[in-house]
Symmetry: C2
Subunit: 222 residues, 2 copies
């Protein structure tokens, strides 16, 4: 992971065998992260232990440190990965949907579905259950994109005449984030085995969304 890329193709670009070693290493890193997600899903976010990961990988615990410098570094990689997946899920749900409120709602429901299907990662992302873990600035990157995705969708809704101009604001972004995180936190705490659309709380989300045109009314023609 150091002497790479400085000197591009001397001869013909080696197809894939450039660093067969590096590729295997990357595969192992991948495997560790997959196992880590499994362990968190079973034992909770704070239940992640490198010893358990090593056990499932068929390796002695100290060997994990050849790939990650610490448990927190594993959390950081998972944090980054989770944010990317979460963002992808939202974007995928928006394609082909009318911009503005419909797209926003599709994105948020997709986010909710992703969170319930990936509870451990979602808690790591949005609830900070590990007090000693502070995500690195680097891992925080996609979070900015998330905010702007919301902000843009709200602006679209204003342009489309679905919401009043006040909805094109940070405050409105905070408001919808409160709505989605309220639904999710209640579901996480009280309904361990429920998917989006099921249980007491997730069906309330459309109700909450329906208040947006009330809170940000489009100005009358007068």
């Amino acid at each position: 992971m150091r002497t790479e890329g400085t000197t591009p193709a001397r001869t013909a670009p080696p197809p894939a065998g450039l660093d067969r070693r590096a590729r295997r290493r990357q595969e192992t890193i991948e495997e560790i992260l997959v196992i880590a997600v499994e362990v968190m899903a079973e034992d909770g976010v704070t239940g992640l232990s490198l010893a358990e990961v090593a056990r499932r990988l068929g390796v002695q615990p100290p060997s994990i440190y050849k790939y990650f410098p610490s448990l927190m570094a594993v959390y950081d990689a998972l944090f980054r990965r989770g944010q990317v997946e979460h963002l992808d899920a939202m974007r995928a749900a928006m394609v082909g949907v009318e911009p503005g409120l419909p797209a926003l709602r599709a994105a948020l429901e997709a986010a909710g579905g992703w969170a319930l299907a990936n509870r451990a990662l979602a808690q790591l992302l949005f609830w900070r259950p590990v007090p000693s873990f502070v995500p690195s600035d680097d891992a925080f990157g996609p979070s900015v994109e998330l905010f702007e995705l919301h902000r843009t969708a709200l602006a679209d809704a204003v342009v489309a005449g679905q919401l009043g101009p006040a909805a094109d604001s940070d405050e409105a972004v905070w408001l919808i984030s409160v709505m989605i995180s309220g639904v999710l936190s209640q579901t996480f705490a009280n309904e361990p085995d429920v998917g989006w659309g099921q249980g007491c709380f997730t069906p309330l989300f459309p109700t909450l969304m329906s208040t947006l045109p009330v809170l940000y009314p489009v100005p009358g023609p007068g």
Copy 2:
């Protein structure tokens, strides 16, 4: 607890001293719980360790087990205590306030204030950050009272004509719990040092509450 040389038992030897031993024991239990809350406030809910509690109490770790059978039992006692405090805070905020929506809002804002002032306990109560800890049925008792407090306040609001009859429902209770927990979970995750009324999220709570009359409109005179 240990340096208790001052025995005021001379002047009043057996005032209520039927079980002076049990009383001292109760005092120690109290002291352990107070220290445990302090530790959680500093190191997070999952950062609670009996070894640290013992250190601050001036005692060897195994001695804690004379008072609590396990770390989880300490969590359980804290859970129960937190629920009682939380409920008391809400009830105290309601006295002298007009029943119905005003009382409900006062109660919920007090709950928010309590949660931000007692973040560790609040997270233990409402976010379950310790996966291996499942509150005992016994410790869950006050939770029922909490639900009924909300339910009653909503019924009062219906009677007072502030909300439509549909607000006298479990669904409405779930809805307000989503609102308050959304505000709190966002504040916990993103604004570590903020009190009620400060920050991006807690000022949104009145806005959310203002949607209740829209979601549960009183039937028109027709």
